[in-house]
Each structure stands twice: as C-alpha cells, then as structure tokens.
Symmetry: C2
Subunit: 349 residues, 2 copies
C-alpha cells in the first residue's frame, strides 16, 4: 500500500485565526499596528503584469536592505517564508549529527515538530522554576542547540552573557538563537557573530514589522552557514519569496522611524498592562516581548480563557503540562488592552 | 566542527533571471501575457493593514476555488509556494519506503535534487529514442513514481492510456503526475483520480496562469493523500501562502475566459513557431507545452544559444549529456517569436 511509505507526523497547531473582524485578537502575537505607510503605497502602484515573471530567486533587494540595516554582508543574510520556513530549513541543513539537539522544555512548540519531521533526535532542557534558562543543561553532549530569546511563551529574556556562555560551551555544534521577539526591548546576539562561527540568528517580520500576512523571516550568520542554507533552499524551491514579499518587505525595513515608533508604543502598552494585570492578581515572568505569560492567583487560566472568548477577546491557552494555568496575552493597542483589563476586572473583581 | 553535521547538497540551477527589461526572455517558460485583469484591480485595492495578521493557514479561498474549478472536494486540494514547494513536500511525505523511486532519465531536473536532499534512492528510466516514455521501465519494483506530463524539457505528451498503464502497474506505490504544462492542449489525468487511489496530480500557476511571480502551485489527489501532505506541511510551516497569493490566486482562477484566451493564443503562436523552425532546419518532439525543444540539422545548439544571447534573446541551454544539442525555447508573444525567427534566419540563412 502506498500509505505504508508515508511520513506520518503530528503537526504543529497554530493559534486560531478567526476571520471575524469584531473580535479583539490577542492570541497569535501579531502587531496591532499596520505596516509602514510606504507598504500601502507600493502595493497600490505595483505593476501586476510583472507577476507573469519568476521573482528574483536571490531576493537581492530584501537581502541587501537587511544586510545594510544589520551592518553585515549580504552573504550573511538568508530570507524565507516566515521564520518558520527559515528555521525548518535550518534544522534540515545543520542538525545531521545523529546526536540529540537541545532546547528548553518550555519554548516555541514547533521545535520538537521540526525535529520529529526530520527524525532528528532531541532532548529538552528543563527551565528553572523562575522560567530562566538552565545554562549547565546546555553543556551536555549534543548535535546542535536552538534557543528562543526572548523565550516563548514565557516572554523572558536571557542576558547576552548567558547566551554567550552557551555558545562558548558548544563550539563544535551550531547554536541557533531564534529572536522572533527581540525588537521589544531586548538585546540581539548579533554583535556576538564576529566572535563565534557557530552562532546563527533568526528573526521575523511577523511581529515587530507588522507583516505576518506577508510571510518574511530571515537568518543572519557566517558566510559559510548562509551558503549551506542557500544550497538546501535551492534544493527545495528556487523561488520561495514572491514579488510582493520582496518589494513590500524591502520598503518596510527602509522606514526605521516608523518601526521604532510602533515597537516603542507596544513596549509602553505592555508596561501599562503589566501594572494592571498585577493589580488584578496576575503574576508573570517579566516580559521583554509583545506578549505577557500570565497566571492568576485564584482563578484557573482555562476559565479566564473561556470567559474572555465568550466576550470576543481571544488570548492563547494551552492544555499542556507545566503551562496549563497560564494565558499568553498579546499586547494590542491601548484601547484593546483597556477593554481587556475592564473585562477581566468585571470577571475577577 | 559544526560543519561536519551539515547536509551538503548540489542545488538545482534555475534559468537566468536577468533584471533587464530590454531582452526577449524565452528561457524559463513564463507566460508572455499578464495575469487576469481582476488581479491588477484587487492588488490596487488590497487593504495593506491586513498584512499585520497571519494569513488563513488553510488557504480556504484558494483551495475552494480550485476544488470548484476542477470539480473535486476541497479536501482533495493542497496548495503551496509554487509546484516546487508542493512536489518537494510530496517527496518528503510519500517516498519513504527505502526502495528507489523512478522517473525518466530526461525530465524536470529538480526530481533528482529533491531525492538527493532527502536521501531518497532513485533510478532513472531511459526515454525511448523518440523521447517517449518507456512504459515497461516503470514496471520494475520501486518506492514511488514521478512523471512530468507533458514532459520537460522535451515538451512531449504521453496519452492518458500510457499514464493509466503505469498507474495500474504500480497500485502499491504513489504515482505523481506533474502537470505543470497541461493547459497548452494536453489532457489531464484528473479523471483517473476516481479510479486510482495511488495517483496524485500537481499543477502550477506559473505557466498558463501567468503568475510565476506569485508562487502558487497545487496538488489534487485523494482525501487521504492530501491529509498526509497537509500534516507534513503543518509540521514545516503553518502559513506558506501569503495574503496577496491567496487573494490574487483566487481571482485568477475565477476568470476562466481570460485563461482560455491566453492559453489559446500561446498554442496558436506555438504552432506558427513550429512551422517556422522546421523551415529553418530545426527538428523537435511535437510539443504540447509552452516551449519547443529544438535541435538544428547543422549548427550546434550551443552556438545558436550564444548568438541569440548576444542579440538579447534568452533561451535555455544545458551543457549536459543527451540534451546538449537542444535549445528549449519558450513561446512568447507573436511579436517576440517573429523577432526570434528573423534573428535565427539571419544567423542560419
């Protein structure tokens, strides 16, 4: 039977994407603000007759603008269909030793799915009770490491000294730092690239750059790493980035003022939300991201989740060990967070 | 060293994508006409503030319109980032038996690249001397089959009876029919889906639907096949199709009149070009695609390729055994083909 030869897997389950517009959507860490105004203008003026042609397979405009922005060479930049595409291709490219790769036991839940997809053995390293990284756990023999920093769904940021200690202790394997949430106040590991050839960094346009719908992610690493990653990508699909992604993604990076403005606003709203949640009896790791991972002192997370949902406010809840009494609440606009807080107040108060 | 664990591969090399607009580009089988007029209008009016949200991970609008168009259930349709994405994920999903998969020795040159990427053993079945499929060669033990029909780069179409014979002889493995070029006069294997649960068909928007730049491809198969493929896709990247691809792709399928008009024009131009090429001393398999695989009776293909290139006409040439005296010439507009023929005439005459 043809079915005997199928690669059977348990896929990742993303947060709900209700198509209704009357809800407050705080469940998938999207940006509450639109992309830079240039994006809209370029979209209107795009020449759709160019769609008949294949896009630039090297994604030159996007790679170049990212290289310029992050002060690296274009040969150090790889772009893909969201950071998920970049990370999954990285697992395939770099984690072939047969030894288990390492990542925290509570982190982005796609890591074990990618490992399973490619039959890569893995071992999880338990976080400490305060949700921080257990550095020593990353000093055992392994075939590679991936760390989300700041981590998801905790929102907690590990200082660069911690990341550096892990990289230093693992010079013979690749350490990928997934910085999907780096732009909300944390410090990127980018400066460490000059010192360590076993570090690669992955970021995304889906959160801070307000372009989840365009599917753009990127890796920055050594020229050697990026070359290997490109070889695998060109063995998979020559043209992954479509024309609108290339054109609009490039424009988004160019408007740095707008980028800083919206990430700054999200940080302000987050800090206000932290105070209000504390007042209502929630506790949480001190988030450096665009979400808060909150637990209430009395009321089970599942009940709060259900109540909010009934009131058209979607947050993220997992019925999984360790995290089943927490809600992951994305930071929306000030107005959205005020509605959230007053709704919670009515329920908990 | 981290480099020891790298998956080292020899990537596929796509045709050149010169960014100049002053050339006649007949080297990557793109459509010479723009996408349906609705695409342009929708693009202008697209609300870019929606880009901040993740796209519909199920690609519902696009899946539904394709299901309706091809008269199958939505559960039988899978969409991806061009047919390369769909095919590569299919290799990963379905070709896990350990036995060699089979495809012709002269065909789309990504098949062996995907097999190598995923360490899938393969065996090529030589085409007959007239470039037609050797049906008996596909009756040996195997772990799966992939056949491009019409074939590339030959342009030759195998009648459905031949395809059916191969499917019938291989009921215990999956047979993928890659119909990238099916819309230029050939007959799709779609009607065979009802009879055979080991058949899956893959098509693309990059040729006949004039949307290579938008990266849209799709598979149609049994509900069971599509479910397995979706599971693997959701283990790779939840959101592969960005918002513009979903919206504009859906619009393109809706305008069937325009689709038939442009494919009809390309067929007419192809038949005119065949006559002219014959007059100039070329021979070729009788193409049912939007390209012609032509060999000249006297002048080496490489020389003609160089001459055309010097005259700003790009066609495809491979310096590879079996096909190194052929040119693959994409069908452009009537005007472009007239320039091609007069340029060839000046050189060969």
């Amino acid at each position: 039977m043809w079915e005997d030869n199928v690669r059977k897997v348990v896929p990742y389950v993303a947060g709900e994407q209700p198509q209704r517009r009357d809800i407050i959507k705080l469940n998938t860490n999207e940006c509450p603000y639109p992309p830079a105004p240039e994006v809209s203008k370029l979209m209107e003026n795009m020449d759709s007759s160019l769609f008949r042609l294949y896009p630039d397979q090297n994604a030159t405009s996007l790679v170049d603008v990212l290289a310029e922005y992050y002060k690296v060479k274009p040969e150090q930049v790889f772009v893909g269909v969201g950071s998920d595409d970049v990370l999954c291709l990285s697992f395939l490219t770099f984690f072939n030793s047969g030894k288990p790769i390492l990542f925290p036991n509570v982190t982005y839940s796609f890591y074990d799915v990618w490992a399973d997809l490619y039959r890569i053995p893995y071992k999880t390293v338990p976080l400490k009770s305060d949700w921080s990284l257990d550095v020593d756990g990353f000093k055992q023999e392994n075939g590679g490491i991936i760390i989300a920093n700041p981590n998801a769904p905790t929102g907690l940021y590990a200082p660069l000294s911690v990341i550096e200690e892990i990289i230093q202790a693992n010079r013979d394997v690749l350490v990928i730092v997934d910085e999907a949430y780096i732009d909300f106040g944390a410090e990127s590991a980018l400066p460490l690239l000059e010192k360590y050839d076993n570090l690669m960094i992955v970021q995304t346009f889906s959160k801070s750059r307000a372009m989840a719908g365009m599917r753009i992610g990127f890796a920055i690493g050594s020229e050697a790493q990026i070359k290997y990653l490109r070889d695998v990508k060109f063995s998979f699909n020559s043209y992954t980035m479509n024309l609108p992604s290339l054109v609009l993604g490039t424009a988004a990076v160019r408007n740095d003022k707008y980028f800083k403005e919206i990430t700054g606003k999200i940080i302000e709203t987050r800090e206000w939300t932290k105070k209000e949640l504390t007042r209502l009896g929630f506790s949480f790791p001190d988030s450096m991201t665009n979400f808060i991972f909150a637990e209430h002192e009395k009321v089970p997370a599942k009940d709060i989740f259900g109540y909010l949902r009934a009131n058209n406010i979607f947050v993220r809840y997992w019925d999984k060990p360790l995290i089943n009494n927490h809600l992951r609440i994305t930071i929306g606009t000030d107005d959205q967070m005020k509605v959230l807080i007053s709704t919670l107040e009515a329920y908990l108060g």
